[in-house]
Amino acid sequence: MAAVAQAPQSLNFELPEDLKLLKSTIREFVEKELWPAAAQVEDSDEIPAAILDKMSEMGLFGLPFAEEYGGAGMGELGYCVALEELGRASAAFSNLLGAHCSIGAMALHLDGSKELKDRFMPQLCAGDKLACFALSEPNAGSDAANIQTAARRDGDLFVLNGVKHYITSGDIADFASVFAVTDRSLGARGGITAFWVDLNAPGITRGPNDKKMGLSGSHTCELIFQDAQVPADRVIGKIGAGFLTAMKTLDMGRLSLGAGCVGTSQLMLEKAIAHAKDRVQFGKPIARQQAVQFMLADMATEIYAARNMVYNGAWKADRAERFTIEAAMVKRYCSDMAIRVVDRALQIHGGMGFMKETGIERVYRDARILAIYEGTNEIQRMIIAEELLK
């Protein structure tokens, strides 16, 4: 279609060439390597080692990070493009990558000193070492400022005591960004510090893997700190500034989480369309029923809105603009959207959607967590309102 008129200033929604190639590369990787492994991941509750190797070789573990630290330097937009495509694979893959890139190593990347980053980022980017993010505790979930894990200064060391729980990749990660109280009297502002912790050090125990509703192949567990010694030079950022680091990190994570929701939903829409055209009841394809058509129309519309939110948020992040409200909106909207879209896709598949073989019931179970982790959707609304009313 011809343009209505020459636009005075062009707003360009086209991805740059390198990100287009990134998108097609990840799509090919998902179709050739990750889809065929979906049933295996689901049944064995593990990601095959050969796939992990390929992910490292491609450089996925360093995707958003700067080239000077061994990353690919693709920024938040590139990361979102990749996560959108990975959203089409088993959730285990995006959870593994998310815990590592979006939050675990991201905290170090955002606020770590040059020395710390020089030392640890290259091995993290290469996928030789895996990171996780340890903020939540049994008594501090939504109320993250209320964490109890304590870090006591002892000369050149900090001594950590406490329990973190539901930590994604806690069972296999080599390192964690750990948030602990250094001065209880100061509360969240000034009293919490972020640490870069070697999880194989003495004094740290990993609990058994939690039994979950979904996310086969991605594990959560407790991390238990009993007089665990962390060298003082492993503080991420400034002492007392850890809560800010946690919040900044989660802002980043929320955008890419939204991107994953878009990819998952797009796949569900495609499956729903194919099934609706194919399935004949009352003498014609169910796609000819307006009730089904309206479901498809709503799915597509919401995906369109969600995708544009994600890309706009990532664009802001890469321009180093403040994007806290956008990140919260993206996380809230995209996760609710994905849950609705999967639900409708399952409905359109009828009884077949409830059967294991179509794979939709797995996506349905895996989608539910999206409204809960990285800050529940209620907490996102609180963040949005706080930004609006301040």
Binding site: E17, D18, L21, K54, E57, M58, G62, E67, A72
Partner: protein, 263 residues
């Protein structure tokens, strides 16, 4: 050693294809194009040869395609090729296989080479003619259907895949090798490769650059032409055998195959 890999842009194998009734050509504008899957094996082999040969070896990608073909060139560069050359011109449209081979060989003469690697076939036209024809134009040996390549002392030796096994074929360099899908497992472009691709040179070649003789390409320069085309008739419904007992089912399938004289 200067290794050149010739690669072709082809319609996505999964895409629905349509012919333009006026030109009797495949309507390429409407479909998603991809790097000819066979050519990925040639690129992978070239990269391995380069990695083994050491620092002063290079891998150059050569394609003849419309401007959009730059996407497949970027993919090849993302996999690790050093640079590329692209021959694009409206006047090339209508070139048949021999004309195509002529133009590619002219381009190869222009950019220079020690070793040429190609796929065995394209997934759209599937002629498997270009490699041998190019070698003939260049007056160099063609070693086709390679499932293994060894290079030593200025010679190349391949295992040439056949239905029965393989033949050992060797020749002095410069030479052209077409590789089969059993030769290797092509790598994915790495993320660093993708970021680096935009900094690599993609040289635009014109028909004048390569000294192409206007009588030897395009509609006019082609010795074959498309008389007419007919869509493949839709396949019938097929016979479905439903049996509760798998042994009984197998028996019925066997009877069916015997009746059809397949077994």
């Amino acid at each position: 050693m200067k290794i050149v890999v010739t690669v072709k842009q082809v319609p996505d194998t999964n895409a629905e294809k349509a012919f333009d009734p006026a030109t009797k050509r495949l309507n390429r504008s409407a479909i998603e194009n991809v790097l000819n899957p066979f050519d990925e094996y040639a690129i992978e082999e070239a990269l391995r040869i380069k990695e083994a040969a050491g620092a002063d070896s290079t891998v150059t990608i050569l394609t003849m395609a419309p401007q959009k073909g730059v996407d497949i060139v970027r993919k090849a560069l993302g996999m690790g090729a050093d640079n590329a050359a692209m021959l694009s011109d409206e006047a090339i449209g209508g070139s048949d296989t021999m004309a195509t081979a002529y133009l590619i060989s002219q381009a190869l003469k222009h950019i220079g080479f020690d070793l040429i690697l190609t796929g065995t076939q394209s997934t759209d036209a599937i002629n498997s003619i270009v490699p041998a024809a190019v070698a003939e134009h260049l007056g160099i040996p063609a070693l086709t259907y390679a499932k293994k390549v060894t290079i030593a002392d200025g010679r190349v030796e391949i295992q040439r895949e056949t239905d029965a096994g393989y033949q050992r074929v060797s020749a002095p360099l410069p030479a052209l090798i077409s590789v089969t899908k059993s030769i290797n497992e092509p790598r994915y472009p790495t993320l660093k490769g993708i970021m680096g691709a935009k900094k690599k040179e993609i040289k635009a070649l014109s028909l004048a650059d390569i000294g192409a003789d206007a009588a030897r390409f395009g509609d006019a320069g082609s010795k074959t032409w498309v008389e007419s085309f007919t869509p493949v008739s839709a396949r019938g419904k097929g016979t479905v055998i439903q049996a509760q007992d798998p042994v009984e089912g197998a028996k019925q399938i066997l009877e069916f195959l015997i009746a059809k004289k397949v077994v």
